[in-house]
Symmetry: C2
Subunit: 205 residues, 2 copies
């Protein structure tokens, strides 16, 4: 009987250890997969802020990642890129801006549009399948105080592990820069518009 | 007989005028379609120079354009983008760099590789189907004098009408900037590598 009890204790111990090892293995496996999700900011008055963000989306889709895009500006002129990216993989694309104050002259409407865009961004941050989230022109909404800066930066900083976020738009707030892992400023050195060349299909839109 | 001669002269004149009109019509038609092909330069020590160039390629493919890419650097880590872009349309992609001097320690080999890449670039400039040409890291080859700056800038400036070219790489030469229509400097404001985060799949490669 004592032998039976000993066997039983040994079995239970083995089972417990096996469970513990499984948990540890899962943790280790998780650590290997999970990487720090970066908060990246593309700002400055030069070109390429959004274009580089969509270039990152292209690369992410190449890795089989699901990508989210929320446009805080009107962004209709990005429809070509949207169509191309959607051909390559899973893209959850939301154009929720309606143009900014200097166009609409209606502050309440701007704030409501920014709020809708931000709520969509939060929903995508909560979607565990999304690995890269582009928040296009969010900096502009923040610059014009269409959204509370503190709330936005806090939420971005509290993003889940492994979620990469790219925020674009000129005049990034210092608080946004402080929260970011990577900030690139696109500076205009020379522009063909100054030389009288018009905006061109394929390049500007 | 005089009447015959007059008729003949009138016919020849009409034919000549028709020919001239056809040439003029073709010229006008060409002017309507052709837009000024831009020479764009992405330089600076920040991120996004090549990523924004491939973002432009994405947009160009959205317009049904044929795109050329010549990589003067090794560029193997852009294979994901290559695969994605090739799914979307016609891309003539050439990775001809073999890594630069600081890696190979073999200057003659570097120069030969740069020359091969440049000759491919020239062939693509001559291909009337190509509407956008990305010369990735050409600035690096020029910085290390692997190619004669004067020859390169002169050839780029003499590109055919309607061909857009994007040149990437830090330390763009002043002559390159002078020849360009659009120059964007990507400046590093803050980098996660400094905070000890490693290069990550999907973001850096």
């Amino acid at each position: 009987m004592e032998e039976e009890q000993e066997k039983d204790a040994a079995r239970r111990h083995r089972e417990k250890m096996e469970k513990r090892k499984a948990v540890q293995d899962a943790e280790v496996a998780g650590k290997t997969i999970a990487q720090k999700g970066l908060l990246m900011v593309h700002t400055g008055s030069g070109k390429g802020k959004s274009t580089a963000a969509f270039g990152l989306a292209l690369r992410a889709l190449g890795h089989g990642w699901k990508v989210g895009v929320v446009q805080f500006g009107k962004g209709g002129w990005r429809s070509g890129e949207r169509e191309m990216l959607e051909k390559l993989g899973e893209v959850s694309w939301h154009t929720l801006g309606e143009g900014f104050t200097w166009e609409t002259q209606d502050r309440a409407r701007d704030e409501a549009a920014a709020r809708r865009a931000w709520e969509t961004a939060c929903a995508l941050m909560d979607d565990p399948e999304i690995r890269l989230l582009v928040l296009d022109e969010l900096n502009i909404s923040l610059r014009y105080d269409h959204l509370p800066l503190g709330e936005v930066v806090e939420r971005l900083a509290a993003r889940r592990e492994g979620l990469h976020i790219v925020v674009t738009g000129r005049n990034a707030k210092p608080e946004m820069i402080a929260a970011a892992d990577l900030v690139t400023e696109m500076t205009l050195v020379k522009h063909h518009f100054a030389a009288g060349v018009k905006a061109q299909e394929g390049i500007e839109f």
